[in-house]
Symmetry: C3
Subunit: 448 residues, 3 copies
């Protein structure tokens, strides 16, 4: 029986509550791909990670094939009856306004209004999430039930929104480690009031960043990116492509990490990269979590940019319920009741553990030829009954036998079928005894 964090909260730590509290603060902000709410989001995130830097990409800047759009801000948006009763109000729920709607102030017939209204007839009480970033139009999103109540022949529509040159806001934390090799964490900051997709990603990413920042020692450097989906990721990559390609050894897009119904893995376009091996090790060997396996054909978040041809970064996602697979997705039903401290903690634990696995992983090589002489070093119980080794001794032998300078510790753990963390104290002891060295450090003896 798996006994991971998904199973009835057995392992829910106080961190789950802290992540949930942060998600709750992030939830109501009326984010889209640009504008003040993204900056306010950064302010909220800084309560956990004051190290967060803000980067502004000015409107009109070319980023690969794209151009940074004008910045869009809203002060009010509503539909009211001719006698001044507000029947739909963005102030109640920011999903009501189609993102990047053009300004509007006028009376429209019911029929004209219906041309600008989006509902989900299959979910009568849900307000859908709709955007129109790159086409000049306006629109409102309503529940099907709300729509039914719009029976009058005319309505006044007011949208006090403005798109004008400004900038697109990204966030970044660079955490130095012992090497320039980088681990990338990425999440997106453009979704308004929805919880699993995507308040959860920001909240969990903040706590993963906190974990990284508080590590007493880091072999890897870390690059943690908060950016609006698609255009933000593209802007960020375009500004950092060379360094990303040179340094990033593994990456994780944090998305849909808040509910408590499933675990999901999205691999990179190229199979078998380190990040994928680590993710599977975390899910299968360390946390024993059953998970849904997806194909890169089912991609849908910023791995689309990181894994694009010519970018080709080894980026995967360990999710809870994947975007597009749960009924509440991209509607007002994806609210704070859908996520939970246990769900967020599970999402956090996966990526946090992936980081720990990466830090524990290295490629080692035996400093001796044939087996080492363990007895005089006190590394072998002195009297052997000859039938079997104690488990610790068996692991010592396995680590020495497979440390050939090619197989990394993660690979050895997979061969043995144990968590990499079981090998860490053995590796430490063997290093202290001078029996193992990192594969990339030249041997003084020059033996191997």
């Amino acid at each position: 029986m798996p006994t991971g964090p998904h199973s009835k909260g057995l392992f829910v730590s106080p961190i789950g509550d802290q992540i949930y509290a942060l998600a709750k603060e992030l939830f109501p902000l009326a984010r889209t791909i640009t504008g003040e709410p993204v900056r306010q989001t950064h302010e909220v995130l800084r309560r956990v990670i004051p190290e967060l830097n803000t980067i502004e990409f000015p409107s009109g800047r070319r980023c690969f094939d794209w151009v940074i759009p004008d910045e869009w801000n809203v002060s009010a948006a509503y539909i009211e009856t001719m006698d001044g009763q507000r029947v739909v109000d963005w102030a109640d729920n920011n999903l009501h306004l189609v993102a990047y709607s053009t300004p509007m102030d006028g009376v429209v017939s019911r029929d004209d209004l219906l041309q600008h209204v989006h509902t989900r007839p299959d979910m009568p009480t849900a307000v859908p999430y709709v955007t129109s970033y790159y086409r000049q139009t306006w629109g409102f999103c309503l529940s099907a039930e709300q729509l039914k109540s719009l029976t009058q022949s005319q309505y006044r529509v007011v949208i006090r929104a403005e798109a004008r040159p400004g900038s697109l806001t990204c966030g970044e934390i660079l955490v130095p480690g012992e090497t320039e090799d980088e681990i990338l964490l990425h999440t997106y900051t453009c979704h308004p009031s929805m919880a699993n997709n995507e308040t959860s990603g920001m909240a969990v990413a903040a706590f993963c960043a906190r974990h990284v920042l508080d590590l007493p020692r880091r072999r890897f450097s870390y690059r943690i990116v908060f950016a609006p989906e698609t255009i933000g990721a593209i802007a960020y990559i375009s500004a950092n492509l060379d360094v990303l390609r040179q340094r990033v050894k593994a990456g994780f897009v944090l998305t849909c990490v808040g509910d408590d119904r499933a675990y999901s893995l999205m691999p990179a376009r190229k199979g078998g990269v380190l990040a994928e091996r680590v993710a599977r090790h975390v899910l299968e060997r360390v946390l024993h979590l059953p998970y849904d396996e997806y194909s890169f054909l089912q991609r849908g978040s910023d791995e689309r940019q990181y894994c694009a041809p010519g970018v080709d970064l080894p980026v995967v996602s360990i999710m809870r319920s994947k975007y597009g697979t749960y009924p509440e997705y991209h509607t007002s039903h994806d609210d704070l009741s859908l996520i939970s401290p246990a769900g967020l903690y599970g999402g956090f634990l996966c990526t946090k553990t992936a980081i720990d696995v990466l830090e524990a992983n290295e490629t080692l090589v035996s400093t001796v030829l044939c087996e080492p002489w363990l007895s005089p070093r006190g590394l072998r119980p002195p009297l052997v009954d000859g039938v079997s080794l104690v488990p610790w001794s068996a692991l010592v032998s396995h680590v020495m036998a497979y440390s050939d300078g090619e197989t990394d510790l993660l690979g050895i753990a997979e061969i043995i079928g144990c968590p990499i963390f079981d090998l860490a104290p053995i590796v430490a002891t063997l290093k202290e005894n001078g029996l193992l060295r990192p594969a990339n450090v030249a041997s003084a003896a020059g033996n191997t």
Copy 2:
């Protein structure tokens, strides 16, 4: 349910009838590896493909390990009773005479005659097909029932056949395309009156050639070869080895493509070559035809030469009922009733579709880094409901995401699980928009 051409003729086109009509004309000619009937066969083929050139290899010429034999022609061959009644006559069925029989005119005892007679006791009414190209002897093939009727003590045997220096006749059509990369089609022209093996191969090859010749545009050049089996293929390869090795990217031996009982695949000696990938794509993804899978151990036609060590051309066969697997094989029962317009059309359609797949296939690379901006190009429905893309948009994304300069379009279609033809209009649109370029053409931007 597969609904391909094998299923009760649903898709039988008029071409099936045309191929059958050609097969009917080719059937009666008394072909063997040399001689006038091979040249007459070319004449018949020229009604469909006037472009067919004849190449003569003179007797005595060394071709690799072999020597072109003398040319053998027959004017008459029969067995008659001492009172002049013909009991077996080559003029009735050219299978009656063992190919390359030596001349004969004399009276032989029944016992001596039996030393020179071949039957198929397991198929009492079938005349077997027997040759003796390289050993000087004579012989007749009879049905077991005919043999029973030979009860007299003596018979007169007449074989007016002559083997003398002449030449071995091959046919060739070279069809230029936009590149020198070649697709090879090969069939053999040495089998006398048998239908599936091998009137069908010649008839279908002629119509495939016609298809190729009539293509408005060809990326590949085509080499279509009609040659007697084994010695003809060896002669042809020996005369063209360097150019074949340099140019041929995929090849198909057309054999046993006329009956309507099965589809069969013979792979090349080296697994996974382009021709094999294309053949499987045709059978599985495009035509949805169940097929019998064979091993190269079960080879038996001219892929033996094309796939020989040192020749190593990527040549496969998509057959109907494979040689050696059906009861009528190499007997007079493999007659025109065994093949049909539907059977021939199925055989034609497989290789014709393989050609179309090859023409549609190319290795492309994205001209942009990250995803392209589709909206301003009108390549993305302007208002996305955020839940799912329309299928066309999903294919656009997949083609862009996998066009990495290594994965060919066939590979992308296999990843997606759709016919390559579904991707062709998308590729055309993306090329028009400057978003894809062939992988082997240098990028002006030099980005990737």
Copy 3:
């Protein structure tokens, strides 16, 4: 139904009896990792293989990470009651004394004695096998039943044993062949009176050596090593590392090859090496023996040294019941009744056949392009019925079709699914006819 040597002795040859007779002579010697009994073992082995050379490694010599220990010899060891009755005596069974026990002559209380006594409570009548090579202590091994009878309060303990500078004794036979490429056979000589582990290994290795020495022709050279386990293997490898790495193409550790209950395969650390392919071919295709498959994680004999990182020799074991898997392992119950002529013959036959497979294996290349012309060479029945080749002709075609200079004969046999020995006469004929040559010999014609 498999009909190999394991099945009711159908194929038991007189060699089984000879091997058993040798094992019987080797069994009683009180071997450990050093000392006179190892040298006496060599003397016994020389009755079968007078070619055996002895190599002495002096105490104190450093071998990689290890140091050759002092030589230990025993003249007597017993426990007696205060009235002089011997209750445990090494002279009865040399397992009674813990190997490398320190000298002792004194009276000890029953309680103190129990601190130095080893039993197997789970096997009341078995004396366990215990060693203490590298820790200074003394001890006795008793059956649990013997222990029960030690009811007196005091006993006299005598151990006349001495560890002093001397040497560690290894044995070696180098058998030259046509090339310097070597096959390695290795067994170990340090186990006292136990039969499957490990009198069987020495006895079978001696007869394998005899087989090799008596071969009329050897393509490979052979290196046959008899050494104490672990320290002996390490000493031997340290003295021969460069030549081993340069020459050894396949190796076999002979261990646990005497009982008749199972066949077992221990692969090398790196999968798919020649020795492993050969072992599988022997078990599956030649002898049709079902076998237990083990992982290198379950290693336990001198493949630990040969397959260590930096040594990396392609060494496997074909065993009968593997060490550690049968109940009698490392106890006095592993006695001469556990092994049998049939069991030993099966062990011998596997490694002997592996040698024969290796000698038969080579990588060949066709000297002609396309198929060879077999008829004029008499290699094809002159009149072909056209339906199928005789099996011999089919093998001729297969050998020619797959001899591409890359696929070795073992690989061709595996593709065909037949024993390599079925191909040997065909290869001989094709070589005589000049149609095949070894792949590494330059072609005069330069054709391929």
